[in-house]
């Protein structure tokens, strides 16, 4: 698509700044959709519209129809043409080039149809949200009924999203807003251990195990060391006996060395 479309193009409306305006559904179609959901007594056909994702989402959609998750046992089938579809799955952050094909797929699907934003990209643009060449989410171009977040959503999350789109399961997530209370106070971790020792242990564990796992291991070690009545040596011997993961044993031993060094002074 070269150059901006004429603003009057009813198939792909834009506002005066050239930004896409989402298509809308008439009330009549919205009512039909409610009726379809209420007594859908047959399979629901899904058509995937790739609006410029990384293909991760497609892989998880296909994982959801493999025998392990088997969406087809509920009659959910992925079809090859939007003309057969009840549900349109929009993946990807909607690149400029894929906007028109996505709109044409939406228009080709018979009413009433359910549109689903799939993945972080579809919901809000995801990691691509601030790129120059994307519109940042399928709700920028079509009316969306259900958002399935995740990058990519797991097959189980996909099944949950389908069930929500078909009105079989209820939404669990609610928007929240926590307000700081008067007496709120952040608790310092492991207060019994001097700060520089804690920092040294945490650094070493993270150096050896990587950032996230290192933190968990350091936490385990510091909890063990500060909450035991035994000496550090006895406590660590007990912890390491029967430890089957040699990497974890090595890291804990290294932390034990540091702890013992500190104890010796």
């Amino acid at each position: 698509m070269n150059g901006p479309l004429p603003l009057s193009n009813p198939m792909a409306p834009r506002d005066e700044r050239g930004m896409p305006v989402p298509l809308t559904e008439s009330e009549h179609i919205a009512a039909l959709k409610g009726k379809l959901l209420k007594d859908i007594q047959r399979s629901a056909y899904v058509y995937r519209v790739d609006c410029g994702g990384c293909n991760g989402c497609e892989i998880e959609i296909f994982a959801a129809i493999t025998p392990v998750f088997d969406a087809e046992r509920f009659g959910i089938k992925v079809v090859a043409s939007p003309r057969h579809a009840d549900i349109l799955l929009f993946t990807g952050a909607v690149t400029r080039a894929m906007r028109m094909p996505a709109l044409r797929a939406w228009q080709a699907a018979p009413d009433p149809k359910i549109s689903v934003s799939y993945g972080a990209c579809g919901c809000s643009g995801g990691i691509f949200h601030d790129l120059y060449c994307v519109w940042g989410g399928s709700d920028k171009i079509v009316p969306v009924d259900v958002y399935i977040p995740g990058c990519p959503p797991t097959p189980a999350a996909t099944l949950y999203g389908f069930a929500m789109a078909l009105g079989l399961l209820d939404q669990k997530l609610k928007g929240t807003h926590q307000i700081e209370g008067e007496a709120d106070r952040a608790v310092v971790a492991h207060p019994a251990i001097a700060l520089d020792v804690r920092v040294e242990i945490e650094r070493e564990a993270r150096r050896l195990a990587g950032y996230r796992a290192g933190r968990l291991i350091a936490d385990e070690f510091l909890t063990l060391a500060s909450e035991t009545d035994l000496t550090l040596d006895e406590c660590m011997k007990r912890r390491l006996s029967g430890e089957e993961d040699p990497r974890l044993a090595e890291i804990l031993t290294r932390l034990w060395d540091i702890g013992a060094g500190v104890a010796r002074g």
Partner: protein
């Protein structure tokens, strides 16, 4: 044929029972990040680390508040926020059933108070950070009592000014001495 049936019977059923039964996620699964606002000091380390900009923070200086916001629709469940959080306030839970019909339900927010500088009255840091810093100093063996809170609750510019004044007095660089 019978042999085939036997193989099938031996293999058992591979299909997960979900959604009719809870789905057991694998160990280390990274699901919805959950903030424990009581433990959060609004330091914004997670906001800086978040590669998808799902976490954002905004100050409202007129109101004296700072608001943390997580957009689950943008989160890629990488766990960087959990890694960098100094107080273990944000943790990735195994929760994966996050689909919503209403986009606003994807937003998780928390509002914190900002600390006004004791000298000039300008907000300069989250109030909870002050208490946390004093606790950390105590943990590293510095005796700080609550009476010194005002010192900690001063903005860097006022602290600098106070230091210069104090040093000027202690080194007799008062105006008379300079003449």
């Amino acid at each position: 044929m019978l042999k085939l049936f036997k193989i099938i019977a031996d293999a058992g059923e591979a299909t997960a029972k979900y959604p009719f039964a809870p789905f057991p996620v694998s160990p280390g699964f990274r699901g919805k990040p959950e903030l424990n606002a009581a433990q959060c000091i609004a330091c914004a380390a997670c906001t800086t680390a978040c590669p998808a900009n799902a976490l954002t923070m905004g100050n409202d200086t007129a109101d004296g508040t700072r608001t943390w916001q997580l957009n689950l629709g943008r989160c890629i469940f990488c766990g960087r926020c959990e890694e960098v959080c100094p107080t273990h306030a944000i943790v990735l839970t195994p929760e994966f059933e996050l689909a919503v019909a209403n986009k606003a339900d994807l937003l998780q927010k928390a509002t914190f108070r900002l600390q006004q500088c004791e000298q000039c009255g300008q907000p300069f840091a989250p109030a909870k950070e002050i208490g946390y810093v004093m606790d950390l100093l105590r943990q590293s063996g510095v005796a700080v009592d609550e009476a010194r809170r005002a010192e900690f609750a001063s903005c860097p510019a006022c602290k600098r000014k106070a230091t210069v004044t104090r040093d000027a007095v202690s080194q007799h660089l008062s105006q008379e001495a300079e003449q």
